[in-house]
C-alpha cells in the first residue's frame, strides 16, 4: 500500500489543527499567501544578503534566529551576520538534500510559522525579529511537551535542522571547546577542497 507522510500525519487522529487546517489553507491558497506575505514583508526589517538559497527565503532568518536562540539556550548571545548566514545556508543545504516528502513538510512548517495569522494564533504577536522570547519559549514547550504528537514531530524536525546547522558553524563549534581536527591531519586537510563536482 502506498502512503504519503502527509497522509499519515493527517490521518493519525491528532489534534494538530494548526498543521491540518492552516497548513491546508496556506498550501492551497497560493495567491492570497503571496499577497499577504509580500505586504507583511514590506513592513518588516527583512534580512538582506547575497547567498543563493534554493528553498528558504531571506525573510525566514528572523524566525530561524528566534527559535534557535530559545531552543539552544542562546538568548544572551548576539548572533552576528556571519553566523546568521551560515545558519540559514546550512538549513537550506540540508533541506535541499532531504527527500521530497520531508522537504515539503519542513517548508510547510516554515510557511505556517511565518504567515502572520497563524503566527499570531500560535502566540507570537509581533514580527519574528521582535518576538518576545517568553512567547517563543511557550510556543516551543507547547509543541514539544503538549502531548500532541504531530506538533512534537514538527518541532523536533525543525530543532534537528537548527542544531545541525548551528553547530556545524566554526564559531558555535568552537564554543563547545572543540579544537578542530587533530594537528596531524591539518596540513593535509587544508589542501582538500570541497565536494563540488
Amino acid at each position: 500500500m502506498r502512503k504519503s507522510r502527509r497522509d499519515f500525519l493527517r490521518s493519525s487522529g491528532i489534534q494538530g489543527f494548526t498543521f491540518n487546517l492552516w497548513g491546508r489553507v496556506i498550501a492551497r491558497s497560493t495567491l492570497p499567501l503571496v499577497t499577504v506575505q509580500a505586504l507583511w514583508t514590506s513592513r518588516s526589517e527583512a534580512a538582506s544578503f547575497d547567498i543563493p538559497l534554493k528553498h528558504l527565503k531571506a525573510e525566514y532568518l528572523p524566525l530561524l534566529i528566534a527559535i534557535t536562540k530559545v531552543s539552544l539556550g542562546l538568548e544572551n548571545r548576539d548572533i552576528n551576520a556571519s553566523d546568521s548566514i551560515i545558519l540559514i545556508r546550512n538549513c537550506d543545504h540540508l533541506i535541499d538534500q532531504a527527500p521530497e516528502s520531508i522537504r515539503k513538510d519542513l517548508l510547510l512548517l516554515f510557511n505556517i510559522l511565518q504567515f502572520p495569522i497563524t503566527r499570531w494564533m500560535m502566540g507570537i504577536r509581533s514580527d519574528w525579529h521582535q518576538a518576545d522570547p517568553a512567547a517563543v519559549n511557550a510556543l516551543i514547550r507547547n509543541w514539544n511537551f503538549g502531548g500532541v504528537r504531530i506538533l512534537r514531530y514538527g518541532y523536533q524536525s525543525l530543532l534537528s535542522l537548527l542544531q545541525l546547522s548551528w553547530y556545524a558553524g566554526a564559531t558555535p563549534s568552537a564554543s563547545t571547546g572543540y579544537p578542530g581536527v587533530p594537528e596531524a591531519i591539518r596540513p593535509y586537510v587544508e589542501t582538500i577542497g570541497d565536494y563540488a563536482p
Binding site: M1, R2, K3, S4, R5, D7, F8, S12, V70, S71, L72, G73, E75, N90, H93, L94, D96, Q97, A98, P99, E100, S101, I102, N137, I140, N144, F145, R149, R152, Y153, Q156, S157, S160, L161, Q163, L164, S165, W166, Y167, A168, P172, S173, S175, T176, G177, Y178, P179, V181, P182, A184, I185, P187, Y188, V189, T191, I192, G193, D194, Y195, P197
Partner: protein, 531 residues
C-alpha cells in the same frame, strides 16, 4: 601537502567509471553480472565476480566521492555522503536513520567496528528460520578471509571515550572487550563518519571496488535503479534513471542481477517492480534497525570525544543475559561526538542544552544497540513506498522496545557513574543532569518512555528480503537467490531474518563472500589475499 588517492593514480586512468549525471542521452549496457549498490555486499561481490572473469557492472545511486574530497567538514560530509543528507527518518519521525549514499555505501562513513555474526544469532536463525547452511562453523573461514582482506583486528589503543566504557564495566565486574576494526595504518583521527582522508579505513571504496575496476569491471555512479523487468521467471532488464536534471534512462541487461542496495534500497527496488513475483507479500517485511539509545556522562577530566578511533570497546554483557528470545538484549559501545553530530544526539532545551554542549570536551558518550527481531513482540517494521516513489521505514516503537530502552538507559548510567562521571544525562527530552547513580535510577524510572521524547537512532538497517527455505516467509533462499526469479540474487543485510546483534558489516562481507563463491562454484577463492 597531499595524501594519496587511489582514484587519482596514473593506473586509475584505465578504470571504466561513468558519472551518469553527465549522460546527455539514454544509454544501454550489457554485462554478465550487474550489481546494484556498492556497499559491503555489492563491493565484495564485485571483486569476486570480476576477478572470476565475469564482466561486471556496478551501479551506485550516490556519487563517486574519494579521499581527495574528505575535508572533515561536518556539514558538507553529512549532506554529501549520507542518504537524504542525514535527514532520513522513519515514517513517524521517531527514528533517525544513518546510511551512506556514495560509492562504497555505508562502509565509507561507518565507524569501522567489525564483528562476526554472533553464534547465538546464527543458532537462532537455524532453529527459528530453518537456515541450515550458514552456521558459525560454515561461515568461519569466510569471516577469516574477509578479516584478512580488510585488515580487521582488535584496536589496541582506545581513546578516553572508549576507556570510560572499559573502566565503568571493569568496576562493575562486567565483561568488556576491544573492538576489531577494518583499518590499515590508521592515524587514530576519529573522523571515520566523515570519510577517511588517509584511506586507512578499508571501506569498499579503497579495497574491493578498486580491485574490481582493476579486473575490468565498470562502475556507473549517480544512477538510481527504478525497477526490474521480469518475464519467464528471469530478469530481462534493469531500468534506471540518472541523478541529474535531465533524468536520462539507462537500461542494463545482464545474465545475473545482484541487488545489494541495502535493507531499504533493495526491498524498495523489488516493491517498485510489479513484474517480480511476490505472492506471499514478504518483500519489505520484518525490517530491523538495532534501535539505538544514547547516554552522556560528564567526566572529571577532558575526554575530547571527537578525537581518536570512534569505537574500540564494547560490552555484550546484556546481550544474551536473559535468553536469546527473552526481554530485549543490548550491546554497549561508545559514540563519537563531533560538535554538530553531538548537537542532535544530545537532547535538552534552552540553557540546560547549551550547558551540555559547552561541556562537550568533558563529555563521554555511550550507545546501546537493541537486538530486535528475536521475540514475538519484536516483529520489526516494514518498507513502505511514499507517493513520490521513495521508500521509508515504518517501524512502530512498542512497549517491548521501550522496556528494553529503559533497561539500557539505566545500565549506561550505572556504568558512567562507576567510571567516575560527575553527572549523567540521557538521550531523552525530559532528562535532567543526574549527579548520582541513585538519583539517575529514580529519575530514569520515573521518565515517560515515549517515541520522540527519546532520541532513537539507527545506523544498521537489516531484513526486508529475508532468506530462508520457505517462500511463504522468505524472499530469497539460503543461496541468496530470489524464490521466484532464477537469475536474481540479494547480497546485503536485507537477507538477515532478524537483526544481527552486532554492527553488521562483517556479517555482510562474510556471507556475501560465501554466497558469491558458491555461485561461481569452481572451488577457487577470488578475494585478493595480499592487497
Amino acid at each position: 601537502m597531499k595524501l594519496p588517492d587511489p582514484y587519482k593514480d596514473e593506473s586509475a586512468k584505465t578504470w571504466r567509471i561513468h558519472d551518469a549525471a553527465r549522460f546527455t542521452e539514454d544509454r544501454q549496457f550489457e554485462a554478465d553480472v550487474v550489481i546494484v549498490g556498492t556497499g559491503a555486499g555489492g563491493g565484495t561481490a564485485a571483486e569476486i565476480f570480476s576477478r572470476a572473469g565475469k564482466t561486471v557492472i556496478m551501479v551506485e545511486m550516490g556519487a563517486l566521492n574519494t579521499s581527495s574530497k574528505f575535508n572533515l567538514d561536518e556539514m558538507e560530509s553529512y549532506a554529501t555522503l549520507y542518504q537524504d543528507g542525514m535527514t532520513r527518518l522513519s515514517l513517524d519521525g521517531s527514528i533517525s536513520i544513518l546510511q551512506g549514499r556514495t560509492v562504497g555505501g555505508s562502509t565509507v562513513v561507518n565507524w569501522t567496528s567489525s564483528f562476526r555474526t554472533p553464534e547465538q544469532t546464527l543458532s537462532h536463525w537455524q532453529k527459528q528460520w530453518n537456515i541450515r547452511e550458514h552456521t558459525a562453523a560454515n561461515l568461519s573461514s569466510w569471516f577469516e578471509l574477509m578479516e584478512q582482506r580488510l585488515g580487521i583486528a582488535p584496536w589496541p589503543s582506545p581513546n578516553a571515550n572508549n576507556q570510560t566504557l572499559l573502566k565503568g564495566c571493569e568496576k562493575l565486574g562486567i565483561r568488556a572487550e576491544l573492538i576489531p576494526r577494518n583499518v590499515r595504518g590508521c592515524w587514530n583521527l576519529g573522523y571515520c563518519g566523515l570519510g577517511c582522508p588517509t584511506n586507512a579505513k578499508q571501506s569498499m571504496l579503497v579495497s574491493t571496488i578498486p580491485a574490481a575496476l582493476r579486473s575490468g569491471a565498470t562502475l556507473i555512479h549517480n544512477l538510481q535503479v527504478s525497477h526490474l523487468n521480469a518475464a519467464g521467471g528471469k530478469i530481462q532488464s534493469l531500468e534506471s534513471i540518472t541523478q541529474n536534471e535531465s533524468r536520462r534512462k539507462v537500461t542494463i541487461r545482464a545474465k545475473t542481477v545482484i541487488l545489494a542496495a541495502g535493507a531499504i534500497g533493495t526491498p524498495a527496488i523489488l516493491l517498485r517492480s510489479p513484474t517480480v513475483p511476490d505472492p506471499y507479500r514478504r518483500t519489505g517485511k520484518r525490517t530491523f534497525l538495532h534501535p539505538t539509545l544514547f547516554s552522556f556522562g560528564r567526566m572529571p577530566d577532558e575526554v575530547n570525544p571527537y578525537h581518536g578511533a570512534p569505537q574500540s570497546a564494547y560490552s555484550d554483557h546484556f546481550q544474551w543475559q536473559q535468553g536469546i528470545d527473552g526481554p530485549l538484549g543490548f550491546k554497549l559501545e561508545a559514540v563519537p561526538l563531533q560538535p554538530a553530530f553531538a548537537s542532535v544526539l544530545i537532547r535538552g532545551f534552552g540553557p540546560a542544552y547549551k550547558n551540555r554542549l559547552t561541556d562537550l570536551r568533558y563529555t563521554s558518550g555511550f550507545l546501546a544497540l537493541l537486538r530486535d527481531g528475536f521475540h514475538p513482540e519484536s516483529q520489526g517494521g516494514s518498507i513502505e513506498m511514499l507517493s513520490d516513489g521513495s521508500p521509508t521505514v515504518d517501524y512502530p516503537i512498542n512497549d517491548y522496545i521501550l522496556a528494553g530502552a529503559k533497561r539500557a538507559m539505566l545500565k549506561m548510567a550505572e556504568v558512567f557513574f562507576a567510571a567516575g562521571a560527575k553527572s549523567v544525562h540521557i538521550g531523552h527530552f525530559q532528562s535532567g543532569d543526574y549527579s548520582s547513580w541513585h538519583e539517575a535510577q529514580n529519575a530514569i524510572n520515573a521518565l515517560a518512555f515515549e517515541p520522540l521524547l527519546l532520541r532513537v537512532g539507527s545506523a544498521h538497517v537489516m531484513g526486508g528480503s529475508a532468506m530462508g527455505p520457505d517462500p511463504t516467509v522468505a524472499v530469497v533462499n539460503e543461496a541468496g537467490r530470489h524464490h521466484h526469479v532464477e537469475n536474481l540474487y540479494v547480497f546485503d543485510g536485507s537477507i538477515f531474518p532478524t537483526s544481527v546483534g552486532a554492527n553488521p558489516q562483517l556479517s555482510i562481507y562474510g556471507l556475501t563472500a560465501k554466497l558469491a563463491h558458491q555461485m561461481i562454484g569452481d572451488g577457487k577463492i577470488y578475494i585478493e589475499r595480499t592487497p
